[in-house]
């Protein structure tokens, strides 16, 4: 009896911890959504839709799952994250700044002449940015190369990558889809930010990806499908990948383009357009009032 009570108490404590952790992550994601809106409004151009769809996953990665040292960006055995959908870079800059890679107010220099924060990611100039991306389809192959290098060095780090749904129309994505299982890269964890939209319209109209889960399974990947805004689900999907050996991991994350700002949600116009100052104020106001869930 005593033992049962003890273990119940322990699992209750674990649950409390989990609840606390999820709240912490939600609060960070909410704060970073506001930063994304602020920096895009300040820049006057950029991609809010795909940044807001990705930010919950990036928050979980940088504040929960990744092994990294913001003050030591070149730490040899750090886990790597490659943003293959480079246009979502405001989300990446936000998590990097919040993590302490560079001062958070630098975010307001996004896309300005002379700023290190280029419109798409550039490795070598921004601490924490691992690869130069933005020409779609290449980041996944780069992540594969890092995962192969890690394997050669005794599997010392894991490699995370995020691809877009529009990006999945690139042939190179499927070249890597074919090769990563061949190389047995179970240290490669890829998120598909499936927000269903791209510049010219909804993916289902532009070039349908479905059945997308079947495709990745057919290419012999370990595939999970989750709600990409559900923080506990993101955490557990990443944790689950540790138990599946011999295959690379694809986490199909169903997301909402522009998530968190009602007038942007699932509105294709917000793929690559910055909010005006007034729109930004409305968006930030809404985000501040939201619970973050």
């Amino acid at each position: 009896m005593q033992q049962v009570a003890k273990s119940m108490k322990a699992s209750q404590a674990a649950m409390d911890l989990q609840v606390e952790e999820v709240k912490r992550l939600r609060d960070i994601a909410k704060e970073l959504r506001i930063w994304i809106i602020r920096m895009l409004a300040e820049a006057g151009s950029g991609h809010p839709g795909g940044s807001l769809s990705a930010i919950d996953i990036l928050t979980v990665l940088y504040f929960h799952s990744l092994r990294h040292r913001p003050l030591e960006p070149d730490w040899a055995v750090r886990d790597r994250f490659i943003l293959s959908k480079g246009h979502g870079v405001p989300a990446l800059y936000a998590v990097l700044a919040k993590s302490g890679y560079f001062p958070i107010n630098d975010l307001l220099t996004l896309r300005k002449t002379g700023s290190i924060l280029q419109g798409h990611p550039v490795a070598g100039t921004v601490p924490g940015v691992e690869a130069s991306t933005g020409s779609l389809g290449q980041g996944l192959s780069i992540a594969q190369g890092l995962a192969m290098a890690s394997k050669m060095d005794g599997d010392t780090y894991r490699v995370f990558c995020m691809i877009g749904d529009g990006e999945s129309q690139e042939g190179q994505i499927w070249e890597t889809a074919m090769s990563a299982p061949k190389f047995g890269l179970d240290n490669l964890i890829v998120f598909l930010d499936y927000n269903k939209g791209q510049i010219d319209g909804h993916t289902r109209d532009i070039m349908n990806l479905e059945p997308i889960k079947d495709k990745w399974e057919a290419f012999n990947w370990d595939v999970q499908e989750i709600d990409g805004h559900d923080i506990p689900k993101i955490i557990s999907a990443i944790e689950r990948t540790r138990n599946i050996k011999g295959k690379p991991h694809m986490i199909i994350a169903h997301t909402v383009k522009g998530k968190g700002v009602s007038f942007m949600e699932d509105n294709i116009d917000w793929h690559g357009k910055a909010p005006t100052k007034e729109e930004a104020e409305r968006a930030i106001d809404e985000l501040k009032r939201s619970s973050g869930e």
Binding site: R80, I82, V122, A123, G124, E130, A131, S132, T133, G134, S135, G137, Q138, G139, L140, S141, I142, A143, Q144, G145, L146, A147, M148, A149, S150, M152, D153, G171, Q172, E175, T176, M178, S179, F183
Partner: protein, 312 residues
């Protein structure tokens, strides 16, 4: 014909270098039998990666490998490799990754397979890309040293290699110096013509020049093994003491050595005529020897061309 194909020199050199450099990896896209990586494959199977017919994937993966501290040599035919241009531009040049692209089967010298397999625009494509070093060795010894230099150099390198065997140009004491033209013939005083040649045609140019010297012509002949960075200093110093300049390359005449030399000389303001000799348009099928006749790269055709130019 003696000599060795520079792709063969590469295959042997990379396998030898890997003995002491554990970071060297080799990648192929289903052309390993032609890029001559067989020795490496046998000796280092755990460091050899076959991508199948997917060059873009191979190139970007090489970039990732380089970010992870490896020294990848990614090999294919020059045309299939470099013509994945956007991938090369972003994953290798812009990212300044330590990737060695090995493009074999340069030029019409490959022969029967014809134009679709010939690398004819690769130098033109790569010259604008920052961070790249572009090397085209002219014989076995130079090729081995160029491969060794590439393995040590931190940054993107392109090695342009031949399918066909190349006669030895250099003695055993030759030292490859990156970025420095290799003067094979130096005229005394003002030269009737200064020839800058690169790759598979250098030996034939030398044969032609040797005959012309007997006929009393004063000729400078320089082997330009490094197309980028170009040895501008040498080019300009010779331009100042030559009646004319001739460039010879088994590559499209647009964008390659001829263009690079013309840009250099024109910008410096030299009033010297530059004649670019190379491939105009596309290649075609035929035996390598017949194609070298047809495209004007045989010793006799090069000699003929020089005589015509000098007369004018």
């Amino acid at each position: 014909m003696g000599g060795k194909a520079t792709r063969q020199s590469f295959g042997e050199a990379v396998a030898a270098l890997a003995e002491t450099n554990p970071n060297i990896v080799v990648m192929d896209a289903d052309l390993g039998k032609s890029t001559m990586t067989g020795t490496f494959q046998k000796k280092f199977p755990e460091r050899y990666f076959e991508f199948g017919i997917a060059e873009q994937n191979m190139i970007s993966t090489a970039a990732g490998m380089a970010m992870g501290g490896k020294v990848p040599f990614a090999a294919s035919f020059a045309c299939f490799l470099v013509n994945r241009f956007e991938t090369v531009r972003m994953s290798v040049s812009y990212s300044n990754t330590n990737v060695k692209l090995v493009g074999t089967h340069a030029g019409v010298g490959i022969g029967e397979d014809g134009n679709s397999q010939m690398g004819l625009e690769d130098i033109a494509l790569l010259r604008p890309l920052p961070n790249f070093t572009i090397l085209q060795p002219a014989d076995d010894l130079e090729a081995r040293q160029a491969v060794a230099w590439s393995a040590e150099h931190k940054g993107p390198v392109y090695l342009r290699l031949t399918r066909q065997k190349l006669e030895d140009l250099h003695g055993a004491d030759y030292k490859f110096r990156v970025g420095k033209g290799d003067v094979l013939k130096a005229a005394k005083g003002t030269a009737d013509v200064t020839i800058f040649a690169t790759g598979g045609v250098v030996y034939n140019a030398l044969k032609a020049v040797e005959e012309l010297e007997k006929e009393g012509l004063a000729v400078n002949l320089v082997n330009i093994h490094t197309l980028k960075p170009l040895d501008k200093e040498l080019i300009l110093s010779l331009a100042g003491s030559s009646k004319m300049i001739l460039t010879i390359e088994d590559h499209n005449i647009v964008g390659g050595l001829g263009s690079a030399v013309s840009e250099t000389v024109a910008e410096a303001g030299f009033p010297v005529k530059v004649r670019r000799h190379g491939v105009e348009g596309f290649g075609e099928s035929g035996s390598p020897a017949e194609l070298y006749e047809k495209f004007g790269f045989s010793p006799s055709k090069i000699k003929e061309l020089i005589k015509t130019l000098v007369k004018k």
